[in-house]
């Protein structure tokens, strides 16, 4: 029973991790921007969901599309107004800019929402399948992660905007020559990244405490997952998230919870040496 339960714990956690990383991976892969705002976007989504639930009594699942849309608008605007100005500069420049923007967002949230941990106390219970326990809210998060990843995959493959994003990722200049408005595509991509973060935040408001203290933790996870899974492909985030979740779960059980995070980082280091593209990454985006 133990092994199966630990595996299920890991898969469910891994799907939540994928939820964190999918938007981050997209932005990194397409824009070559390490978006330091990502953790704060997730927490902002969590706060919006919490306030909608606390003051208006709205169910987080119902609020999710609105929160995601708001984050999309915020992401689009930030990219269009600020990041696009320096997007072709070396990665350190964009990293510094998003870091500065993150400082502003993070501190605004701390000042106006306080750092007090809050949570949507809408406990949905657990499902017990032959002795394997699965919390419903985490399953919901898992479903959402899979759905969002699948949707994003389809959008990237089958829609005009998706093909444009992929084209820009492959060759910015050639894409521009083909008539693609590159800056617009960048803004859309960054917006989608923020949308994914907002949607993740809405689900997380039921699972994790919502507090600005966790922005750095989320960002750190997204970073590790992208390195493990690989940049440049949507499934990379899913594979990276699931791998990290399962590894942390087994390491936590057999080596002690103290070592769970260490083992995750160790895996990241090993992959950086032996397979810099990550588990399913595309060469050229490592």
């Amino acid at each position: 029973m133990d092994i199966l339960q630990i595996f299920v714990n890991g898969i469910v956690l891994g799907a939540l991790y994928a939820c964190i990383a999918v938007g981050f991976s997209l932005v990194w892969g397409v824009l070559n921007v390490i978006n330091m705002l990502h953790g704060s976007f997730i927490i902002l989504g969590g706060y919006l969901t919490f306030f909608a639930w606390f003051y208006l009594g709205l169910n987080p699942i119902l609020v999710l599309p609105a929160v995601a849309l708001l984050l999309y608008i915020l992401g689009f605007a930030l990219q269009y107004l600020f990041i696009n100005k320096v997007v072709t500069a070396p990665v350190l420049t964009t990293l510094t800019l998003t870091f500065g923007l993150d400082m502003i967002l993070y501190n605004l949230m701390t000042v106006y929402f306080t750092a007090t941990p809050r949570r949507v106390t809408l406990d949905l219970g657990s499902i017990d399948l032959a002795g394997i326990v699965m919390p419903v809210d985490r399953l919901l998060g898992m479903g959402l992660a899979l759905l969002l990843t699948a949707l994003l995959y389809l959008v990237m493959r089958g829609s005009t905007i998706g093909r444009a994003i992929v084209a820009v990722r492959m060759d910015r200049q050639a894409a521009a020559l083909m008539g693609i408005r590159v800056n617009r595509i960048y803004a859309v991509t960054f917006g989608i990244g923020a949308l994914m973060a907002g949607a993740a935040g809405a689900v997380f408001a039921m699972v994790f405490p919502v507090t600005t203290n966790l922005t750095g933790v989320f960002l750190g996870k997204a970073f590790v997952i992208c390195v493990i899974g690989g940049l440049g492909s949507v499934p990379g985030a899913l594979v990276g998230g699931l791998a990290l979740g399962v590894i942390e779960s087994f390491a936590g059980f057999y080596l002690g919870p103290q070592h769970a995070i260490t083992v995750g980082f160790l895996l990241m280091l090993i992959l950086l040496v032996v397979r810099p593209t990550g588990l399913v990454g595309v060469k050229g985006y490592e």
């Binding site: 870091f99 405490p209 103290q258």
Partner: protein, 406 residues
């Protein structure tokens, strides 16, 4: 973590300075030596912002109270009190730098330590180097006080006192208690509490069936909770900060861990713990250093009784004070008392007066031991019952009988 450390480094230029100047002090022609200057590096932003703001709030309340009364009498003359604060953004290194700035640039007479054992330790090293007395009101790990520092004094009692009395009390309440699972955050205070509890439980004849630490930044406790479930403990004892405890308690429920006693240190001491958990907080116990239900009278300082402090606090903030508020206000009382005993703000004289201190404050008796820590006393055990915090122990201030978790 990746993001956090970068955050604080780059925010270096944004250090905000808040000087809380005593009412009237600016207008008067008071000379510099007629002002008691207290320096405090505080975590007003970052991970410990909530706790830092509690310190800031209660000291403002204390300062208003003291200065409204005209100041303090020292050696036959009246002195005003002034607080000089800086936000160290929950960055331990910066706390040390700002403590140094407070001493050398702002020339404060004494220092107040920030929240938590880890950051107190850093500031204590600076205070010791410059031989400036330091009052620590939210540091209870013995490892902070066993460095041979002469200028460090703490108002919280040692962790070990809490775990021994708790183990004895629970055994009395539940004689069939046999197995305990201990799960602590790998951080100065939570780790010290987890270690102390495991030792106290073993010494009391209980079987410690699980004893592990989790790293700072852990986002998931399912592996540990699954292992705890398999060990079938009668008592689950978890330590950590509020966000860890909320997540841990929720995952216990999610994965079906049931134990008659669930202790989360120091979760129920904070309102945000019960708010963040809702029904899941019911029955959770904790130790705490202080609870406003205690009833001390004839105390030194601006509040002569616990009730007087409670009334002023509730009027000012509309919420109940917790141990951080109580301990930090009492630390300011003790400091003033020491300055009065010394008859001046001379560092050495104040330090010697602090070492001799044996007073009663609204928060309880304060008597610094050899290592500078307040001597152990019966610290309250509290439990969440019907969304309220009830004191179970000691009997003198108990307001409810202990209930076992279903």
């Amino acid at each position: 973590m990746l993001g956090r450390s970068w955050k604080f480094t780059a925010n270096a230029i944004g250090v905000s300075t808040i000087a809380l100047v005593a009412a009237g002090a600016l207008g008067s022609a008071a000379a510099a030596d007629d002002i008691l200057r207290i320096g405090a590096p505080l975590a007003l932003t970052g991970g410990l912002a909530d706790e830092g703001k509690k310190q800031e709030a209660v000291w403002q309340l204390w300062l208003d109270k003291v200065n409204d009364a005209g100041g303090i009498e020292v050696g036959g003359k009246t002195m005003q009190v002034e607080f000089v604060q800086y936000d160290y953004q929950t960055d331990g290194k910066r706390a040390g730098q700002l403590a140094e700035k407070l001493i050398t640039d702002d020339e404060v007479d004494v220092l107040m330590a920030p929240f938590g054992s880890g950051h107190t330790k850093i500031v204590a090293a600076v205070a010791e180097r410059y031989q400036v007395p330091l009052l620590a009101c939210v540091a209870s790990s013995v490892s902070v006080y066993d460095q041979g520092f002469k200028y460090l004094f703490g108002t919280l009692a040692p962790n070990t006192g809490m775990t021994e009395s708790m183990t004895a009390y629970f055994k009395e309440q539940m004689p069939e208690l046999e197995k305990v699972a201990v799960y602590g955050r790998d951080d100065v205070f939570p780790k010290a509490m987890a270690t102390a509890l495991a030792n106290s439980a073993s010494a009391a004849g209980l079987e410690v069936v699980y004893d592990q630490l989790y790293s700072v930044g852990t986002m998931d406790h399912s592996a540990a909770v699954s292992a705890i479930k398999a060990a079938e403990p009668d008592w689950v004892y978890m330590t950590g900060y509020t966000q860890d405890l909320i997540l841990g308690r929720k995952q216990m429920e999610d994965l079906g861990v049931t134990a008659p006693i669930v202790t989360m240190v120091t979760g129920p001491a904070y309102r945000e713990f019960t708010e963040g958990l809702g029904d899941l907080a019911e029955g959770v116990t904790s130790s705490t250093w202080w609870h406003h239900a205690t009833a001390y009278t004839d105390a030194i300082g601006p509040w002569t009784s616990t009730a007087a402090f409670y009334a002023d606090f509730v009027e000012a903030f509309g919420i109940d004070p917790d141990y951080v508020h109580g301990s930090c206000a009492a630390a300011a009382d003790v400091l003033v008392h020491a300055v009065q005993q010394a008859g001046s703000t001379d560092s050495q004289a104040v330090r010697d007066a602090l070492a001799e201190t044996e007073v009663l404050t609204f928060y309880g008796p304060i008597d610094f031991g050899e290592n500078g820590m307040n001597q152990g006393r019966d610290m309250p055990i509290i439990q969440v019952q019907d969304e309220e915090i009830k004191v179970l122990y000691p009997a003198a201030i108990a307001g409810a009988q202990m209930k076992l978790v279903d």
